[in-house]
């Protein structure tokens, strides 16, 4: 296992304990309800839309009062929202520099195919890329 941030490590372990894909989906559904910072649908704009997702997904990155990274997001499909939640929990409060160097591979380790929604470009990877870039920008700006 790569050296994931601790909260992510825990989540990955949870998924690896699942019996089958259905159970993993159940877990993802659970996480969908655990968004640390839900982006209310009134705040869903063209600007924070994740491109390449078939369902609607919106994500914004912010810095908390301690300079830690925050993901605010939501999606209309639960599996997508679950992924956003996991990512948001995994990096919550992390220094942007660390977020910028995170690998999207943790989803493979969780073994949820939802991440592979075959849009033209992979929606999840697009989101991940966007988050990393934002984090990198925050870094240089800081």
């Amino acid at each position: 296992m790569t050296n994931w941030p601790l909260p992510l490590k825990k989540i990955i372990a949870e998924f690896q304990d699942c019996f089958d894909r259905m159970e993993r989906y159940e877990l993802l559904f659970d996480y969908a309800n655990k968004l640390p910072h839900e982006l209310q649908s009134k705040d869903w704009t063209e600007e924070n839309r994740v491109k390449g997702c078939q369902s609607k997904a919106h994500v914004e990155c912010m810095i908390d009062e301690n300079g830690g990274f925050q993901i605010h997001g939501a999606a209309d499909a639960n599996l997508v929202q679950g992924l956003i939640a996991i990512l948001a929990i995994g990096v919550d409060g992390m220094p942007p520099s660390e977020v910028a160097s995170l690998s999207p591979k943790f989803v493979d380790e969780m073994d949820v195919k939802a991440s592979l929604t075959p849009s033209r470009a992979n929606g999840f990877l697009n989101m991940f890329e966007m988050i990393r870039n934002t984090a990198a920008d925050m870094e240089t700006e800081a």
């Binding site: 989906y25 159940e26 639960n78 929604t117």
Partner: protein
């Protein structure tokens, strides 16, 4: 009699593939594209392994065999649709076929003030080309609405709209609702009342019909009929447009280049007559061999039985599904001539989630707007989940699907 499903399934190599967790593949996305029998795969193999050569204008043996096979494919595919070979133009599919009507025929024969009538039920392939033409030439498009309660076309509105129309473009069988339109009546009304009684031209999008209904282009009496090979057991990359020859003569060339010309000089060119005029460049040769093989394979089955089979599967499955709490069906499966398509939603579980959850059980199900956003708008939804049956699907698969859907709804609903 009836279909010998075991023998049919044995012809499709992909149907023995196992999915996640060793589950068998239950392929219910046939309206998007059907699987291919081994006879089709082998026909293309054999073409590439024994015959491959560019067609037309060469005298060597391979070129002779390739040309014969290619033109033979045209003859046999046309015959399957009740037509002589010179009625069939090969295209890359239904989409290009409709574009050929828009570019080759409509731009040459319609002008500002003309009216094209189409419907709310259409696939984007039968909407966007007309919108582009409309913008370019000031041709008006009128959409026949879907009756919200019966989910069928508003034929009263059609009877009125047809009077002003020069061209009517209608989908034969919906790729979302499973509804078969009364194309016979639409054509008859178009021919008698269309264009102020002078008769209107009619284009029928038969992409979803041909896989389970035998269509006779000549008897049907429309002017254009658009088709895709990949939705009826044939390969990707090929389809066709049937055109009445006297109308073909009034069409301008569309895609141009080699093989469609008679002569080229620096001053200008003259064109071939008939289908060749619209088939520029190296054609889809292997694909024609493959489509031909699909037609041959389909011909070994009774298409009335095929239709009954897929429509029964859809009807029974829709019935079962509608008993699951929270599931709503979009479409009409009580009609005798319904196709194998069932669209549905769950009141709480997002369609995309549903599809993932179904996929984890081995069930290949599509979700989205199915390239029919205006229809989605009419249904008041942004997308649906959709299953679609073809002749190799079994009642057991349908039952297993319903069972899995039930358990998903219980667990996630």
């Amino acid at each position: 009699m009836g279909l010998d499903l075991e023998a049919i399934r044995a012809d499709f190599p992909i149907l023995s593939r196992t999915m996640d967790g060793g589950r068998p593949l239950v392929y219910l996305d046939n309206a998007a594209t059907t699987q291919k029998p081994k006879q089709v795969i082998e026909a293309m193999n054999s073409y590439y392994e024994n015959t491959n050569s560019n067609v037309h204008r060469a005298v060597h043996t391979l070129a002779g065999e390739a040309t014969e096979g290619y033109e033979n494919a045209r003859t046999e595919i046309a015959a399957y649709f009740g037509s002589p070979r010179d009625h069939l133009i090969f295209t890359s599919g239904t989409t290009e076929a409709i574009n050929l009507v828009a570019y080759g025929w409509a731009r040459a024969n319609l002008s500002k003030g003309d009216v094209i009538v189409t419907t709310e039920m259409e696939h984007h392939a039968d909407i966007v080309p007309w919108q582009i033409l409309s913008k370019e030439r000031g041709i008006e498009i009128r959409y026949i609405p879907l009756e919200r309660d019966t989910l069928t076309l508003d034929m009263d509105a059609f009877e009125i709209a047809v009077k002003d129309a020069s061209l009517i473009c209608v989908v034969h069988t919906s790729n979302v609702l499973g509804v078969r339109n009364d194309v016979e009546r639409i054509i008859q009304l178009s021919k008698t009342k269309g264009n102020r009684g002078n008769g209107a031209f009619v284009m029928i999008d038969a992409a979803q019909a041909a896989p389970h209904e035998r269509i006779n282009f000549i008897e049907l009496g429309c002017d254009f009929l658009a088709l895709s090979s990949h939705k009826m057991g044939g390969p990707t990359g090929i389809g066709g447009l049937f055109v009445k020859p006297e109308i073909m003569e009034t069409m301008d060339p569309f895609i141009s280049g080699g093989d469609m010309i008679e002569t080229v000089t620096l001053e200008g060119s003259t064109f071939q007559k008939g289908p060749p005029k619209f088939e520029a460049g190296t054609p889809r040769i292997a694909e024609a061999f493959g489509w031909h093989a699909a037609i041959k394979w389909l011909s070994t089955h009774n298409m009335e039985e095929v239709h009954e089979h897929v429509s029964n599967l859809a009807r029974h499955t829709a019935e079962q599904m509608s008993k699951i709490s929270g599931i709503k069906i979009y479409g009409r499966h009580d009609l005798e001539n319904c196709s194998g398509v069932v669209s549905f939603l769950h009141e709480k579980i997002h369609a995309e989630d549903l599809a993932h959850l179904l996929d984890s059980g081995g069930f290949a199900v599509r979700t989205g707007h199915h390239c029919a956003q205006p229809l989605m708008e009419a249904l008041g939804v942004s997308s649906t989940a959709r299953i679609s049956f073809w002749l190799y699907n079994t009642q057991e698969e349908a039952n297993a699907f319903v069972g899995h859907l039930e358990s998903i709804v219980e667990r996630f609903g």
